[in-house]
Symmetry: C2
Subunit: 567 residues, 2 copies
């Protein structure tokens, strides 16, 4: 936190500044600023999901103080590389504050962004331009942008080749190389090589898979394994995956068509994404394949595929509602085959285990990615990453996207394919990187990147203190003492009121409460004897002494909150 | 919860009852009751660690109502299979309530149990008898017990061959087969085969690894990989693992001796376990190998090994103190090699990632089990489990230890090696299993197994309500309104006091608070106009209306707690 003060930064004329506002110490919250002579390009506006130390928080978005505090800097546009929430999720919260710069992206991302914006009825419709045409060059101030096609697990993922006055920067975003992708073309290696042939100053490349040896698994392998499951399934197939994992959804639709199954979709976001992708021609679905549940419910189970959300055990998603018998139509039945076609996001392991257990108890056969390759990561492994470095042959290298251990592993990889260590920069969030035609430098200067948390309608109003209070409350609860002091006598006006939640079950702790009431009376009489009525002094004394008393009796430390009022 | 009532159970004369009080729907809390004509043998008294839905809870212990409510049943003894906390951890909480039955176990478990009991000074010293001598037969009422040696990741792990009037039961506890174990002998296959040669009625076997194909990795492989790391380490080696993982500690000690390093131990429980194991001759340590840090601090880093706890990112353990610069002596320095020699317990992934990131940032080289086999599970994989079934050739089979998906996978394995499906019982916690010489039956009868939670000094006093309150408090905090009502006018005596924690940052929400105060005054004046002062009615109206108001303004649902007092 120390590093995050507002700082004055002089503009050196021939220096390009790269400022990662997120994505370098975590997975998510991706946003990078490219700045040349006060002209700014932004790449991605993503969100991050909170961890267990942030109870109640919906998500975290990038801190854009650097931009809002420098109105003299001109934002030329926002480039969106693909339509995952860790790259587009902060748009409804931040675009407004940035005065609606034009968004440049590919068609699928455009439609998904526009659709999501509709949930925020008070916001303007963003202006979005399409930039993925072949050989299209987009001129934005001093920058000239070309894109190249990459594989990820959503179509229309754009790699960026950004010509700047100090040299060309390749920015990969999340990617992998897949020679047999589904519902997508292979990454455009020749375009990458061509664009790179004029010389690449800096490669900024996805590090999420940098700790995994080998090549990432092709969607073709996934397809073969799914085919085996489809061929054997004795009844309905329920495939749970991320709602944006369009390649997996395409696979399930093709296999359903092959095995003469109709498909129904459960989950609002999944339905929306399929509709958008189908409309754009990114999904191939035969006319009669998709049906609603009403049409299907009486069919032979072997003719039914259900695609749904909830592979992470999310409490609001379709799959958990089905298992908990809360879904309006669907129940698990004996003979169902349930396929978890996704990795488990850290933190969700227990929820997924419970879900699996319940499915099996209810008679389903469950397949998950530890048993069989039925999910492929969207991120290239070490060999993919080395291939990207070899294709682009950059002078300088900067690993992006991922935890420090991943960035560090990626830096080691780059060194192993002959990028000199001194040409590699592992940066931190907010750190200002200076690129010239000759050099790269991670400066000691930082812009603010502390967490901006979204909680309900509040954006950025939850800080460290509120979070710490939530943690304390969740561990041992709260213990409130309300004491009215008679202004004439300085003694308790009546028996103090005690309210407690999350600490002990009150009905079973009468004796403890009696003792606390007695102690409260003693403390107040002592305090008012020592000096005239001093609310703060009484309150602090009550908090300290009753806190110690409760800890001695229970070994728990509830938040002790005395309220003292004179009447 | 519905199933857990006190029930009357008639004793059929030739029936053995098996009642798992824990361990069948989770990992941990292992405790099984064997009952024949009101005579009871208990196997293990373990605890379970809480998940994220149980904030503040220290751990969960088995529910022993079935035993305490039936004093007519005689407890013949408690058999402890090995000294892991999920098998011994509940002893200090439950032995007392069971009137201190004799514990039967192996020497290492005995000493670890006695040492831990010292932390509970108000308890009696348990009476413990040793039962792992070769060919020793322990007669306990109608039961006759022999043990056989198994591999796990702690020495002295006992498999049980329990002769009962209805047939012989094999009970494996957590185990694997390791032909090259460290600080241990291989599992005693010939004794297992010999004991089984007289016929096995029922095999109860560990399911934790039942979803993993192949054989579990041998400690020999781990040793070879650790050797490679030790051979290359340019400076100090810091190896973090579980404090009870004695085989791993032995490996690190041998390798340190091989590479001429002295060893220092950081972490109280690890020190204690090493002392106990060394005293029993279970660890081989040369006279000068173990030294304290003071002696070591000035040595050549290449001569130093530090063994410590904290591989799970636990906030109180040595490794995190070192990284956070809170350790009294140790800091990470460039050239350190840190080895995470343990799996990650689900729920700890983010803490471990943060720890790894910090270590790398501070200059350490980090090795973890995803990069290299430097940790082996203590649980047999599918081929080990099939081998156990083939060695014992049981008539009936009951998978134990693990989540339902593991039990179910283990049942499938058993069927694949020709145990008929109708002879396999997948039971639930608390379910009464009836075994006769001819049959096995999972009855519809259940004994109570609902969670007993330990929180500080409280055992079992935290229930659903307190936990739910903690969850609510952690999500959106608490909002307390204290309103004094003038008994003469029925109006507010003074401006209501508002205290809130974990909801909004109060200083920045003055307007919201003003509005709530106004609303409070309105509600009270309305309520006291409608009828005479009715505290409960006013309180409920305040809670509902202010709750709705706050949600509308913030989309958050803090716990609203009105306190209304007449003055």
């Amino acid at each position: 936190m120390i590093k995050q003060q507002k700082i004055k930064i002089k503009n050196a004329p021939e220096v390009l500044r790269i400022i990662p506002l997120g994505g370098l110490e975590e997975v998510g919250r991706n946003m990078t600023v490219f700045e040349y002579q006060n002209q700014i390009l932004i790449v991605d506006l993503g969100l991050q999901f909170p961890d267990e130390s942030m109870p109640g928080i919906d998500f975290i978005i990038p801190n854009i103080e650097y931009l809002t505090q420098h109105p003299e800097k001109k934002i030329l546009g926002v480039i969106i590389t693909h339509a995952h929430y860790d790259h587009i999720g902060a748009i409804p919260y931040l675009l407004d504050k940035l005065n609606y710069p034009t968004i440049y992206t590919a068609p699928l991302s455009k439609d998904i962004i526009l659709k999501r914006q509709e949930d925020f009825s008070y916001l303007k419709k963003p202006h979005i331009e399409i930039i993925n045409h072949s050989n299209q060059v987009t001129q934005l101030g001093p920058f000239s942008l070309e894109t190249f096609h990459l594989n990820h697990n959503i179509p229309d993922t754009l790699g960026l080749a950004l010509k700047t006055p100090v040299g060309t920067i390749f920015y990969t975003t999340d990617f992998k190389f897949d020679f047999h992708p589904i519902a997508d073309k292979p990454a455009d290696l020749s375009k990458i090589a061509n664009l790179a042939s004029h010389g690449v100053s800096l490669l900024m490349s996805d590090s999420t898979g940098a700790e995994n040896p080998g090549h990432s698994i092709s969607e073709k392998t996934i397809m073969e394994n799914l085919d085996t499951i489809f061929a054997q399934a004795p009844g309905r197939i329920i495939l749970a995956t991320f709602s944006s994992l369009l390649s997996r959804l395409q696979q399930a639709i093709w296999l359903s068509e092959k095995y003469n199954r109709k498909v129904t979709i459960e989950g609002y976001s999944m339905k929306t994404n399929i509709k958008i992708a189908e409309h754009l021609g990114y999904l191939q679905i035969k006319k009669d394949t998709l049906v609603d549940w009403k049409t299907l419910s009486q069919s032979d189970p072997k003719r039914i595929t259900i695609l749904c959300t909830g592979a992470q055990g999310e409490s609001e998603a379709a799959l958990i509602k089905i298992v908990n018998r809360e879904h309006k139509n669907l129940r698990i039945q004996k003979g169902d085959t349930v396929i978890f076609s996704s990795s488990i996001v850290p933190g969700n392991e227990r929820a997924v285990q419970n879900l699996k257990d319940d499915l099996i108890k209810q008679g389903a056969k469950v397949y998950h990615y530890k048993m069989l390759d039925i999910h492929a990561s969207g991120h290239g492994f070490q060999d993919d990453l080395k291939m990207m470095i070899n294709l682009t042959k950059p002078k300088f290298f900067m690993p992006i996207h991922g935890h420090y251990s991943m960035l560090s592993a990626h830096a080691d990889l780059a060194e192993s394919v002959n990028i000199p260590r001194e040409n590699i920069v592992i940066a931190q969030n907010g750190q200002i990187i200076e690129l010239t035609s000759e050099s790269i430098k991670a400066t000691e200067k930082f812009v603010p990147t502390n967490y901006v948390m979204v909680d309900g309608l509040g954006v950025g109003d939850i800080g460290e203190i509120v979070l710490r209070d939530r943690q304390t409350l969740s561990r041992d609860g709260i213990f409130i003492i309300i004491a009215l002091v008679d202004r004439k006598t300085g003694l308790l006006y009546n028996s103090p009121e005690i309210v407690s939640r999350g600490f002990v079950y009150m009905k079973e702790s009468k004796e403890l409460l009696q003792e606390v009431k007695k102690l409260t009376a003693e403390i107040i009489s002592r305090c008012t004897k020592e000096q005239t009525f001093n609310e703060i002094y009484i309150r602090n004394t009550l908090r300290d002494e009753i806190g110690i008393y409760l800890f001695k009796k229970t070994q728990r430390r509830p938040m002790v909150l005395p309220v003292v009022m004179e009447v």
